[in-house]
């Protein structure tokens, strides 16, 4: 029995001739708050897509809580305990806020009886109450019946997190949850994620806001050009020469100039 919730072993993925994930291995400790960072195009979202089953892996393995899910079909992965949010908002635009959250509950429904329960007509029922409570807990409880397409960006962004949360995952993948949120909204999100984490959910977060990462996460994995270049506590990240080079491109600039001439 390991204390890792997620074990990624020598993951590889290429699109045509372009290698986007090259032999990446890392583990996420149970009940940790791990950040996955890296410059644009480093392969962070691709890792999420491989984990959630949007893409098939070329080679390597994904083990979630002791179960190999490398070849598990996408719709079954959420049942194995993995759910996610998206970098670009991908809520169902024609559904209301509460219906989007109820879609997230799909993974917790069991059998035909739950499938044919008229949760849309009955004004009060277990599913709706739970969804409304989750929204209220995230500080966005005032819009349950509103069609999401008509809501502002900051609200939609948080509905995404709530939708992924109510699937009751063991591991929650969040793709830039704080992007585009203002200070107050970011703080609310931080508190929400802390509460989710206290409920026993492990977080794996892709985020560019380093302030947010440092205050939220206890472990950081850095990717660059599809390779892992650093793994360790957040305090050490910005002192690591490899990471600095990847973000600032200090030495590369000279080479580029040399190559160009």
């Amino acid at each position: 029995m390991t204390d890792n919730i997620l074990d990624i072993g020598s993951l590889k993925k290429s699109f045509g001739g372009l290698v986007v994930i090259d032999d990446v291995s890392f583990a996420v400790t149970k009940a940790s708050k791990t950040a996955l960072i890296g410059p644009n195009g480093a392969g962070k979202t691709t890792i999420f897509n491989l984990l959630s089953g949007v893409y098939d892996v070329d080679s390597g393995s994904i083990v979630l809580d002791g179960v190999d899910i490398t070849r598990t079909e996408a719709h079954d992965r959420v049942l194995s305990g993995l759910s996610r949010s998206f970098q670009n908002i991908r809520l169902m635009p024609h559904l209301s806020t509460v219906e989007n959250v109820m879609l997230g509950q799909q993974a917790t429904s069991r059998g035909w009886r739950d499938m044919i329960y008229p949760l849309g007509i009955l004004p009060k029922n277990r599913w709706r109450d739970e969804a409304e409570a989750a929204l209220a807990d995230a500080g966005i409880g005032t819009y349950p019946g509103e069609v999401v397409a008509n809501l502002p960006y900051g609200i939609q962004k948080r509905i995404e997190v709530v939708r992924a949360m109510v699937a009751k995952p063991k591991l929650l993948l969040l793709d830039e949850p704080a992007a585009g949120l203002n200070r107050v909204e970011t703080d609310q999100l931080h508190q929400l994620l802390d509460r989710v984490h206290q409920g026993g959910v492990t977080l794996l977060v892709v985020e560019h806001d380093m302030h947010f990462v440092r205050s939220l996460c206890d472990h950081v994995v850095v990717l660059n050009f599809g390779e892992k270049i650093f793994e360790g506590p957040p305090d050490l990240v910005q002192k690591d020469p490899e990471v600095l080079k990847a973000y600032l491109g200090a030495d590369d600039d000279k080479e580029d100039v040399a190559n160009a001439s």
Partner: protein
Amino acid sequence: MSGYLEAQLIILCLSTIYAYGIFIPAASGQLNLGAAGFITLGAYASAWFNSMDGLGLSATVSVILAMIFTGIVSFLISFPILRTKGVYMVLATFAFAEVVSGFVINFEFLGAAAGMPVDSHASILVVAPITLAVMIFSFYFMSTRFGLALRSIHDDENVATLFGIKVRTAKVIAFTVGAMIVSLGGSLYGLHFNYIEAQTFNVLLSIFILLYVLMGGTQTAWGPLIGAAFFTIVPEGLREIAEMLGWHWLAEGRFILFGAFIVILMVIRPEGIMTRTLQERIAGNLRNKNNAVTSEQPEGGR
């Protein structure tokens, strides 16, 4: 009830049933132009089960058996058809309807091109309650987690998958349930008019039914009813008005005006007459009105 009114009501009822049958798969984004095929299957199967030359069963049993038969056929054809999407699915379902029509026309025991008489009769008193039952079923169906899954598939298939929805299974079930409802409508057509002819169930009928659904709006279960009612009542209403005003040219050419109506509707309501947002707005207004009676609210929100 006057004969004219009853005839109009029957057409409205049948159109509504057909529309709900096409609406259920349309809610998940399937464009089904095969309504005529399922009507033919329902009408002919129930007629044959009911007829003395066939099985000689009671009308009720025949209709139910015809629904089951259509269900099996549509389940089987859903696998190849659901490999297609959008306009290709329109073509595939259209082709299916033509195949069914071709079969019927070439079978002597189904009366071939001459058509087939239907023994039992169903009056408006049978058809109208069944229509209501289909509507109630559709509202219920769309309000379940299954309906939620279909609407999610319509919006974003990939995300629906990631939240644990088996997209293919859901689509097959929606296609099959829809086909069975259309088949019920076809059976009732036969039982009411006591005569069926494959040529009446043609592609024009399929187009109209798909139009009811798309014009009514696929986002809420009100859509098909509104679409079917609009298409049945407006042309007749136009004629009544034209005759009242003594404008015979309009009575003759009312479909020109009706066509213009459709074009305008497509421009101003591309997602159908009834959308989710509109439903929410109406429901919100009703709520606010009720609240206003009990307590004065400064701002009723949105």
